[in-house]
């Protein structure tokens, strides 16, 4: 299947992006500096370290994902490289999905490396091997997959610049969904409250930072539920994206 060809090609392309290494470096330096923050109280250092580190991972992977996703399809259309591809016996959905999976492969690699770095730093500073951190990273990956699928859908219509703002806006609304729903229900914008409540995903569900930080066990069943939640929205956005991409004039 050609999905694999496009996935690996996109993966190799994204590894060349300087923005990826810039975000990675900043994240690494911040994680490295976190145990040295002088306001840390004795006894809660490791808790706060894990919470803050996972927060930094979340932010960096989301920004990485959005910045890599916004231009995948528009750039190919604008530069006309898409003509060389779609003139071949290639189904548009293979190209679309391959691009998406290529970005996700890069995010997965980045997540794995950062997760390992957090565990290593935790060991070096607190003499603790805490592989539960990977559960937090996995939840962030599920969230990233969902957000990137939304960004891919929007990239069919919007310019990369507009899409960056829409992607970040989607991320913020998703994290403040319960508060926003409550606020809207008591305001003159009551009518759009059901849209926020029932249609938009609750991205805060993927936030396991505090839970992992306080060593609360995260059951595999819960992670699987998160996976299904992410998968349902991801498939929905990707399917919409495919439908519109099939009809798009390039």
């Amino acid at each position: 299947m050609l999905i694999k060809v496009f996935c690996l090609d996109t993966f190799r392309e994204t590894l060349r992006k300087k923005v990826l290494y810039f975000i990675f470096l900043i994240t690494f330096l911040l994680i490295l500096a976190t145990p040295r923050i002088p306001s840390f109280q004795v006894g809660v250092q490791i808790t706060l370290f894990k919470d803050i580190s996972l927060g930094l991972v979340s932010l960096s992977l989301i920004i990485m994902g959005i910045s890599l996703s916004v231009s995948q399809i528009p750039k190919e259309i604008e530069s006309h490289t898409i003509y060389n591809i779609l003139s071949k016996p290639v189904r548009r959905w293979e190209f679309f999905l391959g691009k998406y999976l290529g970005v996700m492969l890069t995010i997965f690699l980045a997540a794995f490396i950062i997760g390992f770095i957090i565990i290593l730093i935790a060991f070096l500073n607190f003499s603790v091997w805490d592989f539960a951190i990977f559960k937090g990273v996995l939840a962030i990956l599920f969230e990233s997959a969902l957000i990137n699928s939304f960004v891919f859908l929007v990239s069919i219509f919007a310019t990369p610049t507009v899409n960056v703002f829409l992607g970040l806006f989607f991320y913020l609304i998703g994290h403040f969904k319960p508060d926003l729903t409550h606020l809207l229900q008591n305001s003159s914008l009551k009518a759009i409250s059901p849209v926020i409540k029932f249609i938009l995903p609750n991205l805060e569900s993927f936030n396991l930072n505090e839970v992992i930080g306080h060593n609360v066990p995260v059951k595999p069943l819960f992670l699987f539920q998160l996976f299904l939640y992410s998968l349902s929205y991801t498939l929905f956005f990707l399917l919409l994206g495919l439908i519109f991409f099939e009809k798009k004039d390039v």
Binding site: L2, N84, K88
Partner: protein, 312 residues
């Protein structure tokens, strides 16, 4: 049984909506065209005529308002039809950090070619287009002409039965243009069909068996290249001892200029014999008969100009 056309276009119409007010622009208007197999077919027209839109429609890059397009009898949007097609876009673009070998390997994968086949074909094609020395050089170092050569190379990676070339000689120096012409003619000799869109009418005249001229999205003329040019070819006849009555008779027919006992006529092939008989009947003397070599450029300008003046 008659061979099916390489490309069959029936009643193709495409309208673009543009701007904030969504103004409609009809890029192609009820175009019907047949490209026979095994020929070189030129698609000509001024800028904005609808040539690129037609090519995009053939390749399924755009949604059409109406029309039916088939490639070797298969719907143009089917994956199967694209197996037979190689496309060179105008000003081909590639990821500039890649090398020609990597580019051809990637495109070979899109045809599901085995690795050994991809490698062999890439070597042969790069040799054919004169890029074998640069196989491992990143494209960022390439000139426009070299990228154009790579463009034709990627179009041929699947050994296609149908080559669609949009401005194939664009960016090429004279030697490059000759090489491109030789590639096209060698492909034709191998039984392939070539559809090319070009502004270089002298090249088109040399290599195209058939042409179609479109303007404002409509078909203006189509047929065998030489036949179309010859049909419109004229002959200049210089006469002496022309009587005043003959001047009057010749005026509505073909008189280019006439003064005193001399006259010069410009006659098309169809009317030639009739005019000569008339001239001899009147006793005038034919001093010279000079066929006017008509070029494709002349035919093209007359066709476009004629349609514009008809429209006015």
């Amino acid at each position: 049984m008659a061979k099916e056309s390489a490309i069959s276009i029936k009643n193709l119409t495409k309208t673009y909506k543009t701007g904030i007010k969504r103004r409609s622009i009809k890029a192609v208007d009820n175009l019907s065209l047949e490209v026979p197999q095994g020929c070189v077919f030129g698609l000509l027209g001024p800028n904005g005529a609808g040539k690129t839109t037609t090519l995009k429609a053939i390749l399924g890059f755009i949604q059409v308002d109406q029309g039916n397009i088939q490639i070797f009898g298969q719907p143009n949007t089917s994956i199967k039809s694209h197996q037979y097609v190689g496309f060179l876009p105008e000003q081909p673009y590639f990821h500039l950090h890649l090398t020609p070998a990597e580019i051809l390997d990637f495109f070979g994968k899109l045809f599901r070619l085995p690795q050994k086949t991809r490698q062999e074909r890439a070597e042969n094609i790069l040799e054919l287009v004169g890029l074998s020395r640069y196989a491992e050089i990143p494209l960022s170092k390439f000139s426009k002409g070299m990228l154009q050569r790579l463009g034709i190379a990627q179009a041929m990676i699947n050994n296609p039965d149908l080559l669609i070339l949009d401005e194939p000689a664009s960016g090429l120096d004279p030697i490059g243009q000759i090489d491109m012409r030789n590639i096209i003619l060698s492909q034709k000799q191998a039984g392939k069909t070539i559809l090319l869109s070009s502004h270089q009418l002298t090249e088109v005249e040399k290599i195209c068996d058939f042409i179609a001229i479109i303007d404002e999205g409509r078909l203006m003329a189509s047929g065998e290249t030489q036949k179309l040019i010859r049909e419109e070819q004229k002959v200049e006849i210089n006469l002496v001892n022309v009587s005043p009555s003959l001047h009057l008779k010749l005026k509505p027919l073909a008189l280019k200029k006439g003064k005193g006992k001399r006259a010069t006529l410009l006659v098309n092939q169809k009317s030639l014999q009739r005019v000569i008989d008339q001239v001899r009947q009147d006793g005038a003397e034919i001093k010279s008969v000079i066929p006017q070599k008509k070029t494709l450029e002349d035919f093209f300008l007359e066709t476009i100009g004629k349609e514009k003046s008809d429209a006015n």
